[in-house]
């Protein structure tokens, strides 16, 4: 033990920070979020008003939910470009089936969940059976699902007034201390909590990490890695369907053109949240924080009167910084 103490003293401050970030990947994003909230609050009086906080939470809910599914895919060293397309397709399925056939809200919702899961399962099968890179698989299915979405919807938006109220439930609000909070945001928080628990405390969670960390080592350790990957993509598909529900509530309709850039935004949230694109490292709480950081940046810069193009540039810089930080953390030594 004494030697360990001596080594501890020998470490520079920088090395200690590196070790801290290595063991607690979400600390970095949490600090960034906190600092940016403080800075934007100082820049604009309106930033911390209940109405504005409510707005940020609503804006973050859809991408945040997608990011939960995206996180587990990226933890396995994969990537899912099709998440936005799956979300839009399932939102159309839920809304159109209910509005055209008069199917009640619950079965329509469950049908959407089933469609989302099947879409995810297809991604998983292509990744595990055909052994194609996830980037290529989901680039392909992104177009397939989007085309199906245009075909099935006939490129027409379905109005909220034609849908059962359950589908719009996620957009309804309740008020806490003057801040209106949507049920969609609550669902996101619950989903993050549940996924964080599963990833941390179950064997499946560990296998998700180890599969992304070292596929061959996991296989040799007796983990059925193909099954893990399949379950990850299918679960992600289900979560995208939950995001579809949140999306319908947010825009009070189902539009085949909604969420065009949400796939990339979800990847942005995951990466800024400290999850490594190389797999095996990260946390779903980080992705929620990442989504909030993007939301806070865009909103705060807008309130400060900064042009949209600079908001976009700020997000771009954040991504580069986050990935560079991840590379540095990975080089940690004993």
């Amino acid at each position: 033990m004494t030697t360990a103490v001596v080594e501890e003293r020998d470490r520079s401050l920088l090395t200690r920070v590196q070790h801290l970030l290595h063991s607690q990947a979400t600390i970095g994003p949490a600090v960034v979020l906190l600092v940016s909230v403080i800075v934007f609050a100082l820049l604009s009086e309106r930033f911390l008003t209940p109405g504005n906080i409510s707005l940020i939470l609503q804006q973050v809910a859809v991408v945040g939910t997608l990011a939960v599914g995206q996180t587990i895919v990226i933890l396995t060293a994969g990537i899912d470009l099709s998440c936005g397309a799956i979300m839009v397709l399932t939102s159309i399925v839920m809304a159109k089936v209910a509005s055209e056939t008069g199917l009640p809200g619950l079965p329509a919702l469950l049908l959407g969940f089933l469609v989302g899961t099947l879409c995810g399962l297809l991604n998983g099968l292509l990744v595990t059976r055909l052994k194609l890179p996830p980037f290529i698989v989901t680039l392909g299915t992104l177009n397939v699902f989007f085309a199906l979405n245009l075909w099935y919807s006939g490129s027409a938006t379905i109005r909220g007034s034609d849908m059962p109220s359950l589908l719009l439930f996620t957009g309804q609000t309740f008020t806490v201390g003057g801040t209106r909070i949507t049920y969609g945001s609550i669902m996101l928080v619950l989903l993050v909590a549940a996924m964080a628990f599963v990833l941390k405390n179950t064997a499946w969670g560990r296998h998700v990490y180890s599969t992304g960390d070292d596929l061959e080592a996991s296989r040799l350790s007796g983990i059925r890695t193909a099954r893990v990957l399949l379950s990850v993509y299918a679960t992600a598909g289900l979560i995208y369907a939950v995001a579809a529900w949140t999306l319908i509530g947010r825009i009070a309709s189902a539009s085949p053109q909604a969420g065009q850039t949400d796939n990339l935004d979800s990847i942005t949230a995951v990466v800024i949240g400290g999850t490594s694109l190389f797999g095996g490292r990260g946390a779903v709480v980080g992705s929620l924080i990442g989504a909030l950081i993007v939301g806070v940046f865009r909103n705060g810069l807008a309130l400060a009167g900064v042009d949209v193009l600079w908001q976009t540039m700020a997000v771009g810089v954040l991504i580069i910084v986050a990935v560079s930080l991840d590379q540095w953390i990975r080089k940690v030594k004993a």
């Binding site: 360990a4 499946w204 070292d214 350790s221 004993a334």
Partner: protein, 255 residues
């Protein structure tokens, strides 16, 4: 005659036109360290992979304590009590030591927390990991909660060996455990191998390093051109003769 703990009879493995194993035999006796040596392409890896369930042989049979088994995956071999330390170590670097020790066979909490919520017994696994490291005299590792990627090469090897020793009930197979290590670290790993034998577990040691082989092995299996060429006693055969047999420069002494 004692029944071999693990036995291979006439194993054949072909990869397309390449024959990696051309009817190879192997016998591992209780409580011994059997070294397997051979030139590159002699079929050492294929032999070991067949015994550890990582590849399925085209022909031949594998017997565990005299009864025939067929392994279709590494899990089958593990269920038969055969643990392998792969050359790649097969550890997940970002997971901690305890998680790696129990990778693929995690323990769940007792009661509802385990059965309904599928919660892992993290504290229990950490304690057991600590116990296993202590039992093998691995004192350089202080904290089983440390990520494996923060360990040195020798320490990683120690973790892989500890995992095999902890769960192997019949046989531990080690593939080139000292290949990537320095002198001091190799020394520690050789001591570990002897420790495993002390526990009564027989070991199959694949190595290119003749001094290491001659130091710890009880018998040496020499593989050549996909077959077992000879089994020699390191006390009666010199290192250079063993290499000569391995490369085909010399015929093995009549047994």
């Amino acid at each position: 005659m004692t029944t071999p703990v693990l036995q291979a009879r006439g194993l054949v493995k072909r990869y397309g036109k390449v024959t990696a194993l051309a009817g190879s035999d192997l016998e591992l006796l209780p409580g011994e360290i059997l070294a397997v040596i051979g030139d590159n392409g002699a079929g050492k890896s294929s032999l070991i992979k067949a015994l550890s369930g990582a590849v399925i042989p085209d022909e031949g049979s594998i017997l565990v304590e005299g009864s025939e088994v067929s392994f279709s995956s590494p899990i089958d071999a593990r269920h038969a009590g055969i643990e392998t330390v792969h050359q790649s170590l097969a550890v997940a670097p970002s997971l901690d030591i305890a998680a790696n020790l129990f990778l693929g066979r995690e323990r769940r909490r007792p009661g509802v927390l385990g059965s309904v919520f599928r919660m892992l017994d993290r504290a229990g696994m950490r304690e057991e990991a600590r116990r296993q490291l202590d039992a093998l005299g691995i004192m350089t590792i202080q904290n089983p909660g440390q990520a494996v990627e923060t360990l040195s090469g020798g320490q990683r090897q120690a973790v892989a060996v500890a995992r095999a020793a902890a769960f192997g009930s019949r046989v531990v197979i080690m593939d080139e455990p000292t290949a990537a290590l320095g002198v001091r670290e190799s020394r520690a790993v050789l001591d570990l191998i002897l420790q495993v034998r002390e526990r009564g577990l027989p070991v199959i040691l694949i190595s290119h390093n003749m001094p290491h082989v001659f130091e710890v092995a009880d018998r040496i299996h020499i593989q050549r051109l996909g077959r077992r060429k000879a089994v020699v006693d390191p006390k009666s055969v010199s290192m250079s003769d063993a290499v000569a047999i391995m490369t085909g420069a010399m015929e093995p002494p009549a047994a």
